[in-house]
């Protein structure tokens, strides 16, 4: 404990600056996204293992087929969300000051960019198979 120059008690100094009131939401979102992500990601892995990955026609056909685009969009959206929540905790734990703010913004924008690209790509493949 660092030496205290204030007359306020340790409890008093903590009471005024406590929880930011969104910790539970973060914790809950992390778990909820994890539970959705586990089956989705396992489904993608098993599908990749069964696909002829070198053949573009087969891959595009699989991406656009049936419920696959729906599940892929969900996987990307929930995956990016879960990843952003996790990276936020890591950055907040290990980085201080201006670099922390910069990294938090970089992580947020990066995740949104990746999610947008992934979802756009899935929709592009899926909608083209109608045309």
């Amino acid at each position: 404990m660092t030496s205290r120059t204030s007359l306020r008690s340790p409890l008093g100094s903590v009471l005024g600056r406590g929880s930011a009131k969104n910790g539970v939401h973060h914790w809950w979102a992390q778990r909820a996204s994890a539970m959705a992500l586990a089956p989705l990601a396992l489904w993608l892995l098993c599908s990749l293992a069964a696909l002829p990955l070198a053949d573009h026609a087969s891959v595009a056909h699989w991406i656009g087929g049936g419920w696959h685009p729906v599940l892929l969009v969900l996987l990307i959206a929930v995956g990016a969300w879960h990843s952003q929540l996790g990276m936020q905790v890591v950055i907040e734990d290990y980085v201080r000051g201006t670099p922390k703010t910069a990294l938090l913004l970089l992580s947020l924008y990066g995740h949104v960019l990746v999610a947008a690209a992934g979802i756009y790509a899935v929709l592009r493949v899926a909608l083209r198979s109608f045309g």
Binding site: A34, A41, V114, A115, A121
Partner: protein, 128 residues
């Protein structure tokens, strides 16, 4: 800012707890970059046969294949270890002895799945 209370650091835990917790974080960070690879692969597929072929050529470099394998290993660890964390959230298996057993189970399950998917994805070609 004055020194604020911080959450417990890695050093207060046993080595095993620290190592598994750290591995969960490190694999999570690796997987954030895995999302980039997934988006790259999907964008390449959306671009048509030529762009897909170009991306496949990049991903087929030996160093890229190694990185993809690291990604696979990170995913499998994060998945299995994540299930262990979720069970702790339900206050299941939190006794000292149970956590020791489940840590061994995590390693065994990850190694088994890694062996299986390494063979399926890297040592087998599926005909179109």
């Amino acid at each position: 800012m004055r020194a604020r209370p911080t959450s417990p650091h890695t050093t207060i835990y046993t080595f095993r707890t620290m190592a598994f917790s750290l591995a969960h974080r490190v694999t999570g960070i690796v997987l954030a970059f895995g999302l980039v690879v997934l988006a790259y692969w999907l964008m390449a597929a959306a671009g048509g046969e030529d762009s897909y072929g170009a991306a496949l050529a990049v991903l087929s470099f030996r160093v890229c294949k190694l990185l993809l394998w690291v990604l696979l290993a990170a995913f499998l660890y994060h998945l299995v270890s994540g299930l262990r964390h979720l069970s702790w959230d339900l206050v299941l298996g939190m006794e000292k002895r149970q956590t020791r057993v489940s840590s061994v189970l995590v390693v065994l399950l990850v190694l088994a799945l890694l062996g299986l998917f390494t063979w399926l994805l890297f040592f087998r070609t599926v005909a179109p």
